[in-house]
Protein backbone atom coordinates (compact mmCIF):
# COMPACT_ATOMS: atom_id res chain seq x y z
CA UNK A 1 0.00 0.00 0.00
CA UNK A 2 1.11 3.62 -0.45
CA UNK A 3 3.25 4.87 2.44
CA UNK A 4 1.65 7.19 5.04
CA UNK A 5 3.85 10.10 3.85
CA UNK A 6 2.53 9.87 0.28
CA UNK A 7 1.51 13.28 -1.06
CA UNK A 8 -2.04 13.32 -2.42
CA UNK A 9 -3.61 15.88 -4.73
CA UNK A 10 -7.43 15.97 -4.68
CA UNK A 11 -9.03 17.84 -7.58
CA UNK A 12 -12.77 18.54 -7.70
CA UNK A 13 -14.86 21.64 -8.38
CA UNK A 14 -17.22 20.69 -5.54
CA UNK A 15 -15.72 21.50 -2.13
CA UNK A 16 -17.89 18.79 -0.58
CA UNK A 17 -16.29 16.04 -2.66
CA UNK A 18 -12.81 17.33 -1.84
CA UNK A 19 -13.74 17.25 1.85
CA UNK A 20 -15.17 13.72 1.61
CA UNK A 21 -12.11 12.35 -0.22
CA UNK A 22 -9.77 14.16 2.17
CA UNK A 23 -11.68 12.74 5.17
CA UNK A 24 -11.41 9.20 3.77
CA UNK A 25 -7.68 9.61 3.04
CA UNK A 26 -7.09 10.88 6.57
CA UNK A 27 -9.01 7.89 7.94
CA UNK A 28 -6.66 5.70 5.92
CA UNK A 29 -3.69 7.36 7.63
CA UNK A 30 -2.63 9.94 5.04
CA UNK A 31 -2.03 13.53 6.10
CA UNK A 32 -0.22 15.16 3.17
CA UNK A 33 -3.23 16.15 1.12
CA UNK A 34 -3.49 19.20 -1.13
CA UNK A 35 -6.52 20.38 -3.08
CA UNK A 36 -7.34 22.10 -6.36
CA UNK A 37 -10.78 23.11 -7.66
CA UNK A 38 -10.20 22.43 -11.37
CA UNK A 39 -7.90 20.54 -13.73
CA UNK A 40 -5.87 23.60 -14.67
CA UNK A 41 -4.76 24.53 -11.13
CA UNK A 42 -4.39 20.80 -10.50
CA UNK A 43 -1.91 20.47 -13.36
CA UNK A 44 -0.07 23.58 -12.18
CA UNK A 45 0.15 22.12 -8.66
CA UNK A 46 1.56 18.86 -10.07
CA UNK A 47 4.16 20.74 -12.13
CA UNK A 48 5.17 22.97 -9.22
CA UNK A 49 5.50 19.99 -6.87
CA UNK A 50 7.60 18.07 -9.39
CA UNK A 51 9.89 21.08 -9.95
CA UNK A 52 10.36 21.54 -6.21
CA UNK A 53 11.54 17.94 -5.92
CA UNK A 54 8.51 16.90 -3.84
CA UNK A 55 6.14 15.46 -6.43
CA UNK A 56 2.68 14.17 -5.67
CA UNK A 57 2.53 10.43 -5.15
CA UNK A 58 -1.14 10.15 -6.10
CA UNK A 59 -3.72 12.29 -7.90
CA UNK A 60 -7.47 11.83 -7.43
CA UNK A 61 -9.49 13.96 -9.84
CA UNK A 62 -13.14 14.43 -10.64
CA UNK A 63 -14.15 13.96 -14.27
CA UNK A 64 -16.82 16.64 -14.64
CA UNK A 65 -15.25 20.03 -14.01
CA UNK A 66 -16.18 23.29 -15.72
CA UNK A 67 -12.70 24.44 -16.80
CA UNK A 68 -10.26 21.65 -17.59
CA UNK A 69 -12.10 18.34 -17.25
CA UNK A 70 -10.63 15.32 -15.52
CA UNK A 71 -9.89 13.51 -18.78
CA UNK A 72 -8.15 16.62 -20.19
CA UNK A 73 -6.18 16.94 -16.94
CA UNK A 74 -5.21 13.25 -17.15
CA UNK A 75 -4.07 13.59 -20.78
CA UNK A 76 -2.06 16.73 -19.99
CA UNK A 77 -0.35 14.99 -17.04
CA UNK A 78 0.45 11.93 -19.15
CA UNK A 79 1.93 14.19 -21.87
CA UNK A 80 4.40 15.71 -19.38
CA UNK A 81 7.49 13.50 -18.91
CA UNK A 82 7.84 14.74 -15.30
CA UNK A 83 4.28 13.79 -14.37
CA UNK A 84 3.37 10.81 -16.48
CA UNK A 85 4.38 8.15 -13.92
CA UNK A 86 2.24 9.66 -11.13
CA UNK A 87 -0.66 7.36 -10.22
CA UNK A 88 -3.86 9.07 -11.38
CA UNK A 89 -7.40 8.08 -10.44
CA UNK A 90 -10.55 9.57 -11.91
CA UNK A 91 -13.81 10.02 -10.02
CA UNK A 92 -17.08 10.38 -11.85
CA UNK A 93 -20.82 9.92 -11.59
CA UNK A 94 -20.86 8.67 -15.14
CA UNK A 95 -20.63 4.90 -15.29
CA UNK A 96 -21.05 4.56 -19.02
CA UNK A 97 -18.62 2.29 -20.81
CA UNK A 98 -17.41 4.96 -23.23
CA UNK A 99 -15.90 7.01 -20.42
CA UNK A 100 -14.10 4.06 -18.89
CA UNK A 101 -12.55 3.13 -22.23
CA UNK A 102 -11.41 6.69 -22.96
CA UNK A 103 -9.87 6.98 -19.49
CA UNK A 104 -8.10 3.63 -19.85
CA UNK A 105 -6.71 4.60 -23.24
CA UNK A 106 -5.44 7.87 -21.76
CA UNK A 107 -3.50 5.92 -19.11
CA UNK A 108 -5.64 6.29 -16.01
CA UNK A 109 -4.49 4.11 -13.09
CA UNK A 110 -8.02 3.36 -11.96
CA UNK A 111 -11.52 4.77 -11.97
CA UNK A 112 -14.09 5.12 -9.19
CA UNK A 113 -17.78 5.76 -9.78
CA UNK A 114 -19.67 8.03 -7.40
CA UNK A 115 -21.24 7.32 -5.00
CA UNK A 116 -18.56 5.29 -3.23
CA UNK A 117 -17.55 4.61 0.37
CA UNK A 118 -14.23 4.47 2.23
CA UNK A 119 -13.85 0.73 1.66
CA UNK A 120 -14.17 1.15 -2.09
CA UNK A 121 -11.61 3.97 -2.18
CA UNK A 122 -9.19 1.95 -0.08
CA UNK A 123 -9.56 -1.07 -2.39
CA UNK A 124 -8.91 1.18 -5.40
CA UNK A 125 -5.76 2.60 -3.77
CA UNK A 126 -4.51 -0.92 -3.14
CA UNK A 127 -5.17 -1.89 -6.75
CA UNK A 128 -3.36 1.17 -8.05
CA UNK A 129 -0.41 0.47 -5.76
CA UNK A 130 -0.23 -3.10 -7.10
CA UNK A 131 -0.37 -1.79 -10.66
CA UNK A 132 2.43 0.73 -10.11
CA UNK A 133 4.57 -1.56 -7.92
CA UNK A 134 4.11 -5.06 -9.37
CA UNK A 135 7.20 -6.55 -7.69
CA UNK A 136 6.33 -5.24 -4.18
CA UNK A 137 2.67 -6.16 -4.43
CA UNK A 138 3.39 -9.72 -5.61
Amino acid sequence: MFKPDTKFLVVDDFATMRKIIKKVLMELGYSQIEEADDGKPGLAAMQAAAQSGKPFGFVISDWNMPGMTGIEFLKAAKADPNLRSTPFMLVTAESEQKNIIEAAQAGVSDYVVKPFNAQTLRAKLERVYAKHHPAKAA
Binding site: E94, S95, P115, N117
Partner: protein, 167 residues
Amino acid sequence: MGAAHKIEINPLLDKNFLNAFVDGVVKTLSLMAGTDVKPLGPKIETKFESRGEVAGMVGMVAGNMKGTLTISYTQNSIFKILENMLGEKYTELTPDVTDAVGEMTNQIYGTAKTTLNQMGYQFEMAIPTVIQGKFYISQYHSGTTLVIPFQITGTENIFFVEVTVQV
Protein backbone atom coordinates in the same frame (compact mmCIF):
# COMPACT_ATOMS: atom_id res chain seq x y z
CA MET B 1 -54.15 7.82 -43.18
CA GLY B 2 -52.11 9.71 -40.71
CA ALA B 3 -48.56 9.02 -39.63
CA ALA B 4 -47.96 6.29 -37.07
CA HIS B 5 -48.82 7.66 -33.65
CA LYS B 6 -46.47 6.93 -30.80
CA ILE B 7 -48.29 5.92 -27.63
CA GLU B 8 -46.83 7.85 -24.74
CA ILE B 9 -47.15 6.56 -21.22
CA ASN B 10 -46.29 8.75 -18.28
CA PRO B 11 -43.16 7.17 -16.77
CA LEU B 12 -44.30 8.25 -13.30
CA LEU B 13 -46.75 5.35 -13.50
CA ASP B 14 -43.86 2.91 -14.01
CA LYS B 15 -42.78 1.26 -10.75
CA ASN B 16 -39.25 0.72 -12.09
CA PHE B 17 -38.95 4.45 -12.88
CA LEU B 18 -39.84 5.28 -9.26
CA ASN B 19 -37.47 2.62 -7.93
CA ALA B 20 -34.55 4.07 -9.91
CA PHE B 21 -34.84 7.29 -7.87
CA VAL B 22 -35.48 5.50 -4.57
CA ASP B 23 -32.41 3.31 -5.12
CA GLY B 24 -30.35 6.34 -6.18
CA VAL B 25 -31.20 8.17 -2.95
CA VAL B 26 -30.69 5.17 -0.66
CA LYS B 27 -27.37 4.18 -2.31
CA THR B 28 -25.92 7.70 -2.45
CA LEU B 29 -26.72 8.56 1.16
CA SER B 30 -25.59 5.17 2.45
CA LEU B 31 -22.24 5.23 0.62
CA MET B 32 -21.34 8.91 0.74
CA ALA B 33 -22.85 9.88 4.08
CA GLY B 34 -23.18 6.61 6.00
CA THR B 35 -26.83 7.57 6.43
CA ASP B 36 -29.69 5.07 6.20
CA VAL B 37 -32.95 6.43 4.87
CA LYS B 38 -36.28 4.81 4.10
CA PRO B 39 -38.87 5.91 1.54
CA LEU B 40 -42.32 6.72 2.88
CA GLY B 41 -45.46 6.45 0.76
CA PRO B 42 -45.05 8.11 -2.67
CA LYS B 43 -47.86 10.18 -4.13
CA ILE B 44 -48.68 11.83 -7.42
CA GLU B 45 -49.53 15.52 -7.49
CA THR B 46 -50.72 17.59 -10.42
CA LYS B 47 -49.00 20.71 -9.19
CA PHE B 48 -45.40 21.12 -8.11
CA GLU B 49 -45.01 22.41 -4.60
CA SER B 50 -41.69 23.38 -3.07
CA ARG B 51 -40.90 21.85 0.31
CA GLY B 52 -38.14 22.29 2.82
CA GLU B 53 -35.66 25.14 3.06
CA VAL B 54 -33.01 24.12 0.55
CA ALA B 55 -33.30 22.08 -2.63
CA GLY B 56 -31.16 20.69 -5.38
CA MET B 57 -32.77 20.69 -8.80
CA VAL B 58 -31.68 19.19 -12.09
CA GLY B 59 -33.37 19.23 -15.50
CA MET B 60 -34.03 15.82 -17.02
CA VAL B 61 -34.33 15.47 -20.79
CA ALA B 62 -34.74 12.21 -22.71
CA GLY B 63 -36.06 12.56 -26.23
CA ASN B 64 -39.40 14.33 -26.13
CA MET B 65 -39.76 13.83 -22.39
CA LYS B 66 -38.82 16.76 -20.19
CA GLY B 67 -38.76 16.86 -16.46
CA THR B 68 -37.15 18.04 -13.28
CA LEU B 69 -35.69 16.18 -10.34
CA THR B 70 -35.91 18.20 -7.14
CA ILE B 71 -34.55 17.02 -3.80
CA SER B 72 -35.76 19.28 -0.98
CA TYR B 73 -34.45 19.19 2.56
CA THR B 74 -35.58 20.72 5.79
CA GLN B 75 -32.67 22.38 7.59
CA ASN B 76 -32.54 19.64 10.21
CA SER B 77 -32.45 16.86 7.62
CA ILE B 78 -29.61 18.38 5.58
CA PHE B 79 -27.64 19.28 8.73
CA LYS B 80 -27.94 15.66 9.93
CA ILE B 81 -26.82 14.25 6.54
CA LEU B 82 -23.84 16.63 6.38
CA GLU B 83 -22.80 15.84 9.93
CA ASN B 84 -22.72 12.15 8.98
CA MET B 85 -21.00 12.88 5.67
CA LEU B 86 -18.31 15.34 6.69
CA GLY B 87 -18.05 14.92 10.45
CA GLU B 88 -18.83 18.63 10.88
CA LYS B 89 -21.83 20.22 12.58
CA TYR B 90 -23.82 22.80 10.61
CA THR B 91 -26.41 25.20 12.03
CA GLU B 92 -26.86 27.57 9.07
CA LEU B 93 -27.39 27.26 5.33
CA THR B 94 -23.83 28.23 4.43
CA PRO B 95 -22.20 27.92 0.98
CA ASP B 96 -20.73 24.60 2.18
CA VAL B 97 -24.26 23.30 2.70
CA THR B 98 -25.51 24.41 -0.70
CA ASP B 99 -22.38 22.96 -2.35
CA ALA B 100 -23.13 19.61 -0.70
CA VAL B 101 -26.79 19.73 -1.77
CA GLY B 102 -25.65 20.31 -5.37
CA GLU B 103 -23.16 17.45 -5.26
CA MET B 104 -25.68 15.01 -3.75
CA THR B 105 -28.27 15.99 -6.37
CA ASN B 106 -25.64 15.29 -9.01
CA GLN B 107 -24.84 11.87 -7.60
CA ILE B 108 -28.45 10.83 -7.00
CA TYR B 109 -29.43 11.85 -10.52
CA GLY B 110 -26.31 10.17 -11.94
CA THR B 111 -27.13 6.91 -10.17
CA ALA B 112 -30.81 7.00 -11.17
CA LYS B 113 -29.90 7.99 -14.73
CA THR B 114 -27.62 4.99 -15.13
CA THR B 115 -30.45 2.65 -14.04
CA LEU B 116 -33.01 4.45 -16.20
CA ASN B 117 -30.77 4.34 -19.26
CA GLN B 118 -30.25 0.61 -18.75
CA MET B 119 -34.07 0.39 -18.88
CA GLY B 120 -34.07 2.09 -22.28
CA TYR B 121 -34.42 5.78 -21.42
CA GLN B 122 -31.75 8.10 -22.76
CA PHE B 123 -31.30 10.73 -20.08
CA GLU B 124 -28.37 13.10 -20.41
CA MET B 125 -26.16 14.39 -17.60
CA ALA B 126 -27.08 17.90 -16.50
CA ILE B 127 -25.82 20.52 -14.10
CA PRO B 128 -27.73 20.84 -10.81
CA THR B 129 -28.97 24.13 -9.36
CA VAL B 130 -29.40 24.78 -5.65
CA ILE B 131 -32.31 26.87 -4.42
CA GLN B 132 -33.09 28.22 -0.97
CA GLY B 133 -36.55 29.18 0.28
CA LYS B 134 -39.95 28.75 -1.36
CA PHE B 135 -40.14 28.67 -5.15
CA TYR B 136 -42.56 27.87 -7.97
CA ILE B 137 -41.78 26.21 -11.31
CA SER B 138 -44.08 28.02 -13.70
CA GLN B 139 -43.03 26.20 -16.88
CA TYR B 140 -43.93 22.80 -15.48
CA HIS B 141 -47.39 23.62 -14.15
CA SER B 142 -49.02 21.26 -16.63
CA GLY B 143 -46.77 18.34 -15.71
CA THR B 144 -47.31 15.70 -13.09
CA THR B 145 -45.17 15.41 -9.99
CA LEU B 146 -44.18 12.22 -8.21
CA VAL B 147 -43.37 13.02 -4.57
CA ILE B 148 -41.37 10.52 -2.53
CA PRO B 149 -40.77 11.52 1.10
CA PHE B 150 -37.75 9.94 2.81
CA GLN B 151 -37.09 9.62 6.52
CA ILE B 152 -33.59 9.50 7.97
CA THR B 153 -33.55 6.30 10.02
CA GLY B 154 -33.61 6.85 13.76
CA THR B 155 -34.72 10.47 13.43
CA GLU B 156 -37.85 12.46 12.62
CA ASN B 157 -36.01 14.23 9.80
CA ILE B 158 -37.72 14.14 6.43
CA PHE B 159 -36.67 15.19 2.95
CA PHE B 160 -38.48 14.97 -0.37
CA VAL B 161 -37.63 13.72 -3.83
CA GLU B 162 -39.91 15.21 -6.44
CA VAL B 163 -39.89 14.17 -10.09
CA THR B 164 -41.94 16.38 -12.38
CA VAL B 165 -42.49 15.07 -15.89
CA GLN B 166 -44.08 16.35 -19.08
CA VAL B 167 -44.40 13.90 -21.95
